[in-house]
Every structure is written in structure tokens, then in C-alpha cells.
């Protein structure tokens, strides 16, 4: 802090070179920090320390709203509590009815898959976490939760509430972690339309009540009310967790892409508690491992072991390869604007080659859905 006053003794003429020189030095410093943080990921340790240092401030800042809401809760009327109790009881009954046949179904499913024993659920361990701070602006949709590395939380861990997916952890400090919500404009969630099996990416729209599905062609089989579940690609979320329900589908004759909106199932704006989940890495529904780890930082799965991916047909990728011209083959998978050469459009339900999935650090990739001919798409969030 002594740096603030180093030039205090010297007379400062209006526009001498000193200010310009110091600006250059500080600007260069900032650029170096940005480069190290962004490209090299050298600053993971520093981030960890800073997260720890910032935590008390965030706790303190959030204490007045927290105190206010707890005071308000303590003055809640008897009628209100009774109504809440009744609705909770009804909900519990529903859930019990629904899970009554779970054991039976699990065994039946195992038989159909030809397995000898029923698999355990993919979720291995749960940890409830309290929300400490909320940022729900149109630019950033983040939560701060009160669990961190000392509780075993890792970067890229799935966060759920009792209705659906909420997001994943990004910055993990010792006692706190930042959660990027699925509604953050920088977050893309690899999803599957439950009714048809069509895979795509749901991108946050910057408000807590909607997701956009910008990469679906106009002839995609999707309609209002369709359930979106996680597709298991991308290395963070396991297969089959509910994400959102489609609320509107717009198709225009001149547009190659359908405009689809979906509402997240999780109560993102009103939750006060979320669940951190650890998944069994060798479970078939567990998130597929990411091929690259960043500087040894674990992403996605707790133990990045090679594991059984969901079964997928082997025939699909082979015929596509010899067809495209060499330069198209080089550019198509990564940057997407060129229409992807494809021998023939296949039925949309056929899962084919890997859809590249996304993590928040990378931004949504140009959702190459190989099952349908790729129109001229420019991903709205351009990246490398």
C-alpha cells in the first residue's frame, strides 16, 4: 500500500511524462497478469489464495441480506408454515410413489442391458452447500457457495438442486467455491432431447429463467414441452440429469436455424441450498473424461480414469472421412462455418460421432451435430 504515495513528494505538473510512464508500467503488468492467467494457467495457486482472501469480504457483504431473510422467516405466519408443510407432504408422497418401483425397474434395466447385477446409482456422494453470494446479472450468473477444497470440492464439479442441474464449479478456494450457472451467457451445457435423443448444446441466456438452444437446424424434431437432459458428453455432467423444459420454438422459412428457448428446471433464482455431487467414475452414465487436463488441474471427473463411455454405434464416423476435400477436413470439425460435407442426411435419432462438449473456460464450441447436415452457422460467441 506504500506504493500509493511514492510520487507524493514530487511536484506534479499537469502533463509531464511521469503519469504516462507509470501508466505504461501498470498497463504492461496488467497485460502480463492477463496473459499468465488466460493462456498459461500459471495463476491457479494465486487464484486459490485470492479466493480464500476474498471469502470473508463476501461473507460480510452478504450478511445483511442473509440476516434480513432469516428475520423475515422467523416472523412467517402460522398459516404460511402450515401451507408449506402441506405442500411438502404432498410432494414427498409424490416422490415416494414415483420411486416405489425404482428397485424393480433398476433390476429390469440391468437384465435388459445384459448385466449381471443392477448398477448402483451414478451419484456416489452428495454434499449440501449453502449459497453465500449470488450474482444474477445479464453478464454473469454465478453463485458463491460455502464449500471448498477442504471439503473435497474440485473444479468442474456438477452442482444440482432437487429439481435439476444448476451449474458447475469454476474457481475453488479452500472454504468457498464459485459456481457458474447453466444460465450464464458463457456456459454451454451439452444436452439431449429426451424424447428424440437429439443432442445439442444449451447456452445460457443471461437471465435465471431461460436457456437458448442456438444450434438446432430448422427441421430438428423439437417441440414445446420437450425435456432436456444432460447428454453425458463434455466431461462434467453425467448422463441423464434433467436440465430444462422447452418453452418456445420459432421456425422461420428463411432461417436455417430454429430459435428455441427452454426454462431451467432448477429453481435458480430462489434456491438457498445446492447439492455438490461426486459421481462413480466407472459407471456407464458417468461423464466422459476430457482428453486434456489443464496443467494437472482435474476437470470433470474426480478420478480421471479411462472409463466405459455410453455405448455408441461404431459405423457412423467411418464413411464421413474419405469424402471431404482436404482443407475442409482440416477446418470443419473445429470452426464450423463451412457446411460439413456428409454423404447423406441420417435420421436425427442416430447418435453418431462425438459432439464436442464444452467447459466454461472454452466457451461453447460450434455445436457440430453430425446427425443433420450442418447449415452455415456462425456461433454467436466466437472463440479460438
Amino acid at each position: 500500500m506504500a506504493a500509493f504515495g511514492t510520487a507524493a513528494g514530487r511536484p506534479l505538473q499537469g502533463r509531464d511524462g511521469a503519469a504516462g510512464f507509470r501508466f505504461t508500467v501498470y498497463a504492461a503488468l496488467a497485460v502480463v497478469i492477463m496473459y499468465l492467467d488466460q493462456r498459461q494457467h500459471y495463476l491457479e495457486r494465486l487464484r486459490y489464495v485470492l479466493q480464500a482472501a476474498a471469502y470473508p469480504v463476501q461473507l460480510a457483504v452478504n450478511s445483511p441480506p442473509a440476516a434480513w431473510s432469516s428475520i423475515r422467516r422467523s416472523f412467517e405466519g402460522r398459516d404460511q408454515l402450515q401451507a408449506e408443510n402441506a405442500s411438502l407432504k404432498a410432494r414427498q408422497r409424490d416422490l415416494e410413489l414415483r420411486s416405489m418401483r425404482y428397485e424393480d425397474l433398476a433390476r429390469e434395466n440391468a437384465e435388459l442391458r445384459g448385466l449381471r447385477a443392477a448398477l448402483p446409482p451414478v451419484a456416489d456422494r452428495w454434499l449440501p452447500a449453502e449459497i453465500v453470494n449470488v450474482q444474477l446479472s445479464s453478464l454473469r450468473q454465478r453463485l458463491l457457495i460455502d464449500r471448498g477444497a477442504v471439503n473435497g470440492v474440485f473444479k468442474g464439479q456438477a452442482v444440482l438442486d432437487d429439481r435439476g442441474l444448476i451449474g458447475q464449479t469454476t474457481n475453488v478456494g479452500p472454504w468457498s467455491a464459485e459456481v457458474i450457472l447453466i444460465t450464464d451467457p458463457e456456459h454451454g451445457t451439452p444436452v439431449r432431447i429426451e424424447r428424440t435423443g437429439l443432442r445439442t448444446i444449451a447456452v445460457g441466456a443471461g437471465d435465471a429463467t431461460s436457456l437458448a438452444l442456438p444450434y438446432l437446424p430448422a427441421n430438428a424434431d423439437i417441440k414445446q414441452g420437450d425435456l432436456l437432459v444432460t447428454s453425458g458428453l463434455g466431461g462434467v455432467f453425467p448422463h441423464g440429469y434433467p436440465v430444462a423444459r422447452v418453452t418456445e420454438v420459432h421456425r422461420e422459412a428463411v432461417q436455417p436455424l430454429a430459435q428455441v428457448r427452454a426454462a431451467p428446471l432448477a429453481h435458480i433464482g430462489t434456491d438457498s441450498e445446492v447439492m455438490l455431487v461426486w459421481f462413480r467414475p466407472d459407471h456407464p452414465a458417468a461423464p466422459a473424461p476430457q482428453t486434456a487436463t489443464v496443467n494437472g488441474v482435474k476437470a470433470g471427473n474426480a478420478a480421471l480414469q479411462p472409463q466405459a463411455a455410453p455405448p455408441r454405434p461404431t459405423a457412423a464416423p467411418a464413411p464421413a472421412m474419405p469424402k471431404p476435400a482436404p482443407e475442409a477436413a482440416r477446418t470443419a470439425p473445429r470452426t464450423g462455418p463451412a457446411p460439413r460435407p456428409k454423404p447423406a442426411p441420417e435420421p436425427a435419432t442416430e447418435p453418431a460421432t462425438e459432439v464436442e462438449a464444452t467447459s466454461p473456460a472454452e466457451g461453447p464450441p460450434p455445436a457440430v451435430d453430425p446427425a443433420v447436415p450442418q447449415p452455415e452457422t456462425q456461433p454467436p460467441k466466437g472463440n479460438r
Binding site: F4, A19, R22, A30, Q58, L136, P185
Partner: protein
Amino acid sequence: MNAFSRGRMLLSVIFGLVLTVFPLPAWLDVLRPAFVVLVVLYWSVNAPRLGGIALGFFSGFALDVFQGPVLGQHALALSLVAYIAVREHQRIRTKPALQQALVVFGALAVYEFAVFAIDGWSGHPVTSPLRWVHTVTGALIWPPVAAILGYRSRARI
């Protein structure tokens, strides 16, 4: 006098940070002025030797810790704002409050553009026009902020 002002400066930056991090409902959050930038502007204009560009850098870095996708982003943007303000401080501080508010609007626009540009370069582009709203509210709130920060400071340094 000097020590008093330095304490006041640090306190105001911390208070600005708190106001920036404080959770607000989404519609109010759009309107939330960039308090830290206003505070840095005030001290750069009224006490350029006390804080100067270092103040901009360090308060920007603190902002990065709380809400930056990339460390150094707000540090660079605020250093730029502080540099401009320090360079032009004699012109700015002789102007009446309303004209100052216009200058502040320009400075906030420069700041937001720098943040926006770095967002784009670092692969987090958010092109919503709502991100520019705070430049207007920041300019509107400048006269009271300047009055509060300058409360009872006897002489301009």
C-alpha cells in the same frame, strides 16, 4: 491532512468494492453504477499525487478477484481511466458538477469499452447492450458521490 486523505481514500475504495459485490436483484443490478470507477475517478481528479494510477491498478485488481473472468482485466481498464483522469485533472476539476458528470460519462464509457474489449479477446464475449447502462447511471450519480467523498475536505490537494 495527507494521512487523513489516504485513509479516506482506502476506505472509499473498500466501500465502493462492497457496493459492487453487494447482491442485488437482476433488474437493479443492471442499473448499478461502477462505484469503484467513480471513486478512482474522484481521487485521480482531486488528489492525483495521492492515488494516481497505482490506485486504479490495485482497486481494479481487487475488482478482478471478485468478479473478473481474467485477472488483470479491470486492473488494466481502471489504470487507463486513472491515467486519463490524472492527465486531465486540472481541466476536469475546475468544471461545474454537471459538466463533470459528462466527463465521467465519457470515462465510464472508456472503462466499459476496455473491459468489453478484453472480454472479447479473452474469449468471454457478452454483447448484451445492457452492459452499457451503468455508464449513464454512473454519470447521474456522480454529483452526490463527489459531494460525499469531498465532504469536509478543507482544501483540494
